[in-house]
């Protein structure tokens, strides 16, 4: 099992006022799944993603990633796991300013201990998302859809076990949004686990399974029967 979560609780403490965000979640996600975590804003879905993505720690509860109890790991071990096993795609792209497309994709490799030829690997991944012609463009010279594809390439470059996509189409026009969803679906078809966080029902229906969250609790967890397939002609190579 890729992800096993048991009774996950997250409280934020601010000026001694405790805000309960996650109130005891229990679920599993297997390898190769395409899960949409859905819920209105303030439901705790982003917090859940951050904990699953090892960017934040749970207050109480168990979280096993690839069978490993990550609640017991220190900051460096978490950084290493993020580097090797997890890829992120954010709503606001989070590319480094004043750097080229290629440099952004190389970034995770510079923190990796494993030896690969960074240049060749980054080019390979960028070509697979159809950006082979943009390698030396600066990130402020490309469109929003292209930026998000750079982010996907960056997420893929270390060949992670799971990709977290946090509202990946939120800042994009609908055409670019379709392209991104198509790439994510294609990646899933190739066997990659995708966890998508969104508040839109339409977007969530691109996944195979939907976990609905409200007020920090799972209110629904079901297989998508009428799955949407994004098609825009941008094909993964």
């Amino acid at each position: 099992m890729l992800i096993q979560v048991h009774n996950l609780v997250k409280n934020f403490v601010n000026d001694e006022i405790v805000t309960k965000v996650l109130n005891g979640l229990t679920f599993n996600i297997g390898s190769g799944e395409f899960v949409a975590i859905m819920g209105p804003s303030g439901s705790g879905k982003s917090t859940l993603m951050h904990i699953l993505g090892l960017l934040d720690r749970a207050t109480i509860g168990k979280y096993y990633l690839l069978g490993k109890d990550v609640t017991k790991l220190n900051d460096d071990e978490l950084a290493d796991l993020r580097n090797q096993k997890i890829g992120f795609v954010f709503q606001s792209f989070n590319l480094l300013p004043r750097t080229t497309v290629l440099e952004n994709v190389i970034l995770p490799l510079t923190y990796a201990k494993r030896k690969v030829e960074p240049m060749a690997r980054a080019k390979e991944v960028l070509e697979s998302v159809g950006l082979g012609h943009r390698l030396n463009y600066y990130t402020n010279q490309i469109s929003g859809g292209e930026k998000q594809r750079v982010a996907i390439a960056r997420a893929l470059v270390n060949d992670p076990a799971v990709i977290f996509a946090d509202e990946p189409t939120g800042n994009l026009d609908s055409k670019s949004g379709v392209q991104i969803m198509e790439i994510l679906q294609e990646l899933n078809n190739q066997g990659r686990t995708i966890i998508l966080v969104t508040h839109e029902t339409y977007t969530s229906e691109h996944a195979k399974r939907i976990i609905k969250i409200k007020d920090g609790l799972i209110v629904d967890d079901y297989e998508v029967t009428q799955r949407r397939i994004a098609r825009d002609g941008v094909r993964l190579k």
Partner: protein, 417 residues
């Protein structure tokens, strides 16, 4: 690791170039500080060598004997204008005897005063130096024209005089002074020689004086029987201490002083080697004091860097968050920001060294134009020091911001607006 370092340097230069104006202003503090340290060290060393060379030119194998007791570190008693008459011509003769002071090469005794020298209608106020023949050996005096007086003339109260070059020029102009009679205190003296021009040595004009045999000066000009100073040349600087002890023993015996501790001495013995040592210590202290003052500006520059780095950490919180999200450890972030701080200070340091060296060269050229024998000393040590200090400043003042950056929680950093 190599790739990581390369990336680090690339990232930090990029960050610095992105804010050229700001980086330069931040650097300015370091540039000025380092340049100031380099200049002060160079000018200090130049001035020090100038002073030391002046003192050295008087000879480091010289022992001076002054009348009256004085503290080892204090000024001689005669400086206060007190006339002390304890030293005599006979003391000088005794000291200039290898049986008494085995290391002595030669000795000179002085009685100096001021007086008017006249020739025909010309007259000139100058220093009258009653001295012994030993002057030539001890002070490296050289005669330009004619001759210096002899031992016989010294003993026999001969009325002869040797002119310093300035005096010769003032009294005689272009005429030949040898054999002429000059008047000092209404007595006629025969000019037998003119000294070679020596210039100002150790801040003393050696050309504006006339030499009269000591005994003649004492008996016929000044009417005294003591000497104001004696100077002994010894065979080797290494024997200074021994010779000084010998001199003290001889003088105590002659002056009937039984206390060998020195408490009742009526004379003071000093060596030029000691003086040189003292001057070196003093000028060193001055030099490092000034350099320390200059280094203060490095401290101020360092605080400027800390300030900018803290700003940079705040501005780039999201970047830090992202780097952590893709796997940067706390150590990675820390080294990135440290590297940035060090690039600022190191670049500033190098620019400062270049500017400081150029200014030091200009100063030494200026000093040479003004006629000083000025050595250019931008020492490798001061460059090494400046580089080390620059890196250290970057490391020290970059540490706090870098630590702050590395400790950001990834999710808080990513959320930062």
């Amino acid at each position: 690791m190599l790739e990581f370092c390369r990336q680090c340097i690339k990232v930090s230069t990029k960050a610095l170039l992105a804010n050229k104006g700001r980086s330069f202003l931040t650097m300015l503090g370091i540039i000025i500080g380092v340049a100031a340290v380099i200049i002060i060290m160079a000018v200090g060393a130049g001035a020090q060598s100038l002073i030391i060379n002046q003192v050295k030119s008087l000879g480091t194998d010289i022992i001076g004997i002054l009348p009256g007791a004085s503290e080892a570190e204090g000024p001689p008693a005669t400086v206060m204008g007190i006339v002390i008459t304890t030293l005599t011509y006979e003391d000088a003769l005794a000291l200039n005897d290898k049986k008494n002071v085995p290391n002595v090469v030669d000795a000179v005794a002085y009685y100096k005063g001021l007086g008017t020298v006249s020739w025909g209608s010309n007259s000139y106020d100058t220093n009258l130096s009653g001295s012994t023949v030993g002057y030539l050996t001890v002070e490296n005096g050289e005669v330009n024209q004619g001759r210096f007086f002899t031992k016989e003339e010294e003993v026999n109260l001969a009325k002869v005089v040797v002119l310093g070059s300035t005096v010769r020029k003032e009294l005689f102009g272009e005429s030949d002074p040898i054999g002429q009679k000059v008047k000092i205190k209404k007595q006629n003296f025969e000019v037998i020689g003119v000294m070679k021009e020596r210039g100002t040595v150790a801040f003393q004009n050696n050309d504006d004086q006339v030499f009269i045999p000591l005994r003649t000066m004492q008996k016929l000009v000044a009417g005294v029987s003591h000497v104001s100073m004696m100077r002994l040349k010894i065979d080797n600087q290494a024997n200074t201490i021994r010779a000084m002890e010998d001199i003290k023993i001889v003088l105590r015996e002659r002056h009937e002083i039984n206390d060998q501790s020195g408490a009742n001495d009526d004379f003071t013995v000093r060596s030029s080697a000691q003086a040189l040592e003292m001057i070196t210590v003093i000028t060193n202290a001055l030099k490092f004091f000034l350099a320390a003052m200059a280094a203060l500006s490095l401290l101020v520059g360092g605080i400027g860097i800390m300030n900018i780095m803290l700003m940079s950490v705040t501005e780039r919180t999201r970047e830090i968050g992202l780097r952590k999200a893709v796997g940067a450890s706390n150590r990675n972030i820390m080294s990135q920001f440290l590297m940035e701080a060090i690039s600022i200070t190191l670049t500033g340091g190098i620019i400062g060294i270049i500017i400081g060296s150029i200014i030091s060269v200009l100063i030494s050229i200026g000093a040479r134009l003004l006629g000083y024998n000025w050595d250019l000393v931008v020492s490798p040590f001061s460059i090494f020091l400046a580089l080390t200090v620059s890196v250290a400043v970057g490391l020290i003042f970059g540490l706090y911001p870098a630590r702050k950056a590395s400790r950001l929680q990834p999710i808080e950093a990513l959320r930062h607006e």
